[in-house]
Homo-oligomer: 332 residues x 2
């Protein structure tokens, strides 16, 4: 039985708890949170230890044993602080996803985890994570290939937050939508250089404040640099009731397409495509992080320490099955 | 520069040579073959050493250095004999694909490779190989998932050979075709139990001998046990010219679909799909085997020995890039 601790209680933590119920080999033993009373209320039917102290306290009560801590906080403020602290005391898994800061974060976690004989799997999930390794495989297996990543249709938290900050907006949710024609061109073997606008579009559902100027809101959103200006963005105004009824889910997904040619005169086109269609992104991510926790524990048991990305881990270590079972089951 | 030797010269060996031209980090230095004169003729413009002795002779001429030997023979007769012999002297990669015999073959290769401090990557390619790891990932990331593998549209050598043995058949090529409706049902989130007939159909192009009874040939093919009887099989008679013109390629491909549910009441359906569309199967397989050769060499350089499947290897080792580059490139 793999004993997991969770640091930070939000949607991904809830996703882990939902996933754990279906895995007989995994159990959540402890949750570190800044809101122990609320979390205790939410988890009242589950026997999970929730320390009332803040997350600086790493002493475990008698009878509780933690093999791996999964860090479920945000990449901006939580993980950069919590990662190094937890890596001193535990094997860790996190989904740090500020892409450009991954190399320095890796170096920092590697040093701390090594010093304390722990394993830290960083930047895990589906992107970065599964999508990273699909890009790597495409690049390693198909010479001089071109790799395209499309995201969606799905909710982007960052873009929803950005739209919510516009004056006159009471609530907003943003869907990232891949452009079907672009995907089809790549599937057909073309290797276009797409502009940002040609790969994705954005759809924002907005609940305006009473009496707000809808045209002004629309203009402020579609021209917002970094978030919307480079895309074709559509803004749809809805009521609070509609928002609650139709837009509270966490759908997401995407595709990694790799296309290359082989043979004389590059005449043989080879395409390889990975895609996922997720009805609930945090619950899927929870499953991936649990698989990474298995791997972190096994690597540590093998005597390894330091930081690992999902590209550094033999795939078999993610599995709920043993080596022998793996050969029998997956080489079918 | 990674120096590769090839044992056995057929379509996959030609695929490796086609792929190597596009990889600046890899070079083919030597080919062991039972037909040295013919192969020498075919490779006349490339400086590749071809020993005239048979493959029992493993001494290398001066100036030739081999890091990894890729075994390109068949799984039935060649690899089970050549694998253990080559593993005594070299790191090896093979695509042994007799699924049920993989565990004992692994055990044998593991013992020999360990004894000789070599690394042997066995059963590599796209299935077994890439498809095996997509099945494993589906199983590890999605709790209690169902996994479906569809193959095609593509040429099956084994089924083509079986059809060729029917009396009155001069030549035959068989296409395995996945049934689109079945794929769509899984993509839509259903989890049916398919019969063999519901997942794939078979299409056989036959050139009959002069005066042969076409109806008898058709009947003999579609009722052939193990190969065709369990499928809806269509036989189309064509001329030798048509066969040459339209059916000399090596297309193949397929899909691994994993579907599972998460959350309360299993209400959130999560689907994940990998697919490849290959215009030339042996050239793609060649690329995968080269990536495995990189991994075999690196594992051995790290001090490891024994047998490995693609599920035992950290993905980064397949890449033409170094660790630092990998983080920068694929965690984008």
């Amino acid at each position: 039985m793999l004993n997991i601790g969770i640091a930070g209680f939000g949607n991904v933590a809830r996703g882990i708890l939902a996933a754990v119920e279906k895995w007989p080999d995994v159990s959540v033993e402890m949750v570190w949170t800044r809101r122990p009373e609320q979390v205790e209320k939410e988890l009242k039917e589950q026997s999970i230890f929730i320390p009332t102290q803040d997350s600086k306290n790493f002493s475990l009560p008698k009878g509780i044993n933690i093999d791996v801590v999964i860090l479920c906080g945000g990449s901006k403020k939580d993980i950069p602080v919590q990662g190094p602290k937890f890596a001193e005391h535990f094997n860790t898994v996190d989904s740090f996803d500020t892409h450009k800061k991954i190399p320095p974060y890796f170096a920092k976690m590697d040093a701390i985890a090594k010093e304390n004989n722990n394993v830290s799997v960083i930047s895990a999930g589906w992107d970065p994570g599964i999508f990273s390794f699909m890009r790597l495989l495409g690049s390693a297996f198909l010479p001089q290939s071109r790799i395209y990543t499309f995201w969606g249709k799905g909710i982007s938290q960052g873009h929803s937050d950005a739209a919510r900050k516009v004056k006159g907006v009471k609530d907003a949710r943003q869907y990232t939508i891949p452009i079907e024609e672009a995907i089809q061109r790549v599937r057909n073997g073309e290797t276009p250089k797409f502009s940002t606008r040609e790969m994705h579009k954005r759809l924002v559902y907005v609940v305006p404040e009473n009496g707000a100027d809808e045209e002004k809101i629309r203009e402020a959103i579609v021209t917002m640099p970094d978030y919307f200006a480079e895309y074709d963005t559509k803004v749809i105004f809805i009521t609070e009731e509609q928002m609650k009824r139709e837009h509270t889910g966490f759908p997401h997904g995407g595709f990694v397409l790799t296309t290359g040619t082989t043979g004389k005169g590059d005449k043989n086109r080879q395409i390889f495509e990975y895609g996922c269609t997720l009805t609930n992104n945090p619950e899927f991510t929870g499953g991936v992080l649990i698989a990474c926790a298995r791997a972190a524990y096994r690597l540590n048991e093998e005597g390894k320490s330091g930081a690992f990305t999902m590209l550094d881990i033999p795939l078999g270590l993610y599995s709920q099955y043993s080596d022998k079972d793996i050969q029998r089951r997956f080489f079918m």
